[in-house]
């Protein structure tokens, strides 16, 4: 066989072999959190490249590749199974800040100087060490921080406000194509989607991205940027309607003379207010 043909064939096969091996060793390995995982990838690359261009003889090369991959899979598996193995190979997290106090000895143990530590904090938008309550240096050198309670970002719980219970939104249309899986996850079907699209006066092929939130409202972004589709406003409308109903009932209670009827209208108004208040987080 002419030499160049051999090279072409080997390269072609190695290309797909690399994809296969990558799937085999798994995403945790490919994330290469430790230095030696990164070295593994470089050596792996060398083997593959060498094999492709006849730098490495075929049999020896394939053997080396198989061993290299096999060890990776083995070590990965053992790290999954045993914490002791993981600690040995990866190293444990090192506490850098405890109760607001920086532990310099631990920084030394992590071979991190204070300047690098501050740099890591800055990359997390933390410019004051005084704001930090607790911090760890992970096995790959990344620093993760727990801020002091009064420095933490606000949450709805801090206001005593109830946030609406929500699920993740689903993408149902991508590049003009309908994604049935997204619809299924929301308990909806194509019929529903086509109906919603018709209400907006567009068809699925006009839509670049279509998403449905957990309330069931459809948001679309169209291919044609000149065309604007108004966003769903049913919930805002509902809120306005609830306010109106409450106000109407209240005014009726003020207009009638009969106290029994007055009480009835007032009670109805109060009921509607209760409905509105309970739905409030969902209508935002």
């Amino acid at each position: 066989m002419p030499e160049y043909a051999a090279v072409l064939i080997k390269t072609f096969l190695l290309f797909f072999a690399v994809i296969l091996i990558s799937r085999l060793v798994g995403r945790r390995w490919l994330a290469a959190r430790t230095g030696w995982e990164r070295v593994w990838m470089m050596i792996f690359a060398f083997f593959v490249a060498g094999l492709a261009v006849n730098l490495i003889p075929l049999r020896e090369g394939l053997l080396a590749l198989a061993m290299w991959t096999g060890l990776a899979v083995l070590v990965n598996y053992m790290m999954l199974k045993s914490k002791a193995v993981r600690d040995l190979l990866e190293g444990r997290e090192i506490v850098a800040v405890q109760h607001g106090k920086v532990l310099e000895d631990n920084l030394w143990e992590a071979r991190m100087n204070p300047e690098d530590f501050l740099r890591q904090l800055r990359s997390k938008q933390i410019f004051q060490v005084a704001d930090v309550d607790f911090a760890v240096i992970e096995s790959d050198g990344e620093v993760n921080v727990l801020l002091k309670s009064d420095q933490k970002p606000l949450t709805p719980a801090d206001f005593g406000r109830v946030a609406a219970p929500e699920d993740a939104p689903q993408t149902v249309i991508l590049d003009g194509n309908i994604l049935d899986e997204g619809l299924r996850n929301l308990g909806l079907n194509r019929g529903w989607l086509l109906n919603e699209l018709e209400k907006k006066g567009i068809s699925a092929e006009n839509v670049l991205i279509g998403q449905v939130d957990s309330h069931g409202d459809l948001y679309v972004d169209l291919f044609d940027d000149a065309l604007q589709v108004p966003p769903p406003s049913t919930r805002q409308l509902l809120e306005a309607q609830l306010e109106q109903a409450e106000a109407d009932l209240r005014s009726y209670s003020l207009e009638v003379k009969d106290p029994a009827v007055q009480a009835m209208f007032q009670e109805c108004s109060d009921k509607m207010r209760q409905v509105r208040q309970e739905l409030e987080p969902l209508l935002r």
């Binding site: 929301l186 308990g187 409308l237 109407d248 009932l249 009726y252 009921k271 409905v275 739905l279 969902l282």
Partner: protein
């Protein structure tokens, strides 16, 4: 506009509200949210009920306004 007409209008508004709430109770997947929506339905129905009774009373008292 007579009082009867006004009350009828509010009843219609409330029926629309009930339909919207039912639709959301149906399509929302999150169990907590679903529960919140569903909880409102009987309340709205009660109010609609009260209003319709009131309309009937009004129509009996002033039959000349019936149907408006």
């Amino acid at each position: 506009m007579t009082v009867g007409t006004q009350v009828k209008k509010t009843a219609v508004l409330l029926k629309g509200i009930e339909a919207t709430i039912r639709a959301y109770a149906e399509t929302t997947q999150h169990p907590e949210a679903k529960e919140i929506w569903s909880r409102q339905i009987p309340r709205v129905e009660e109010v609609i009920d009260q209003l319709e009774k009131r309309v009937q009373t009004l129509e009996r008292e002033e039959p000349q306004y019936k149907g408006y």
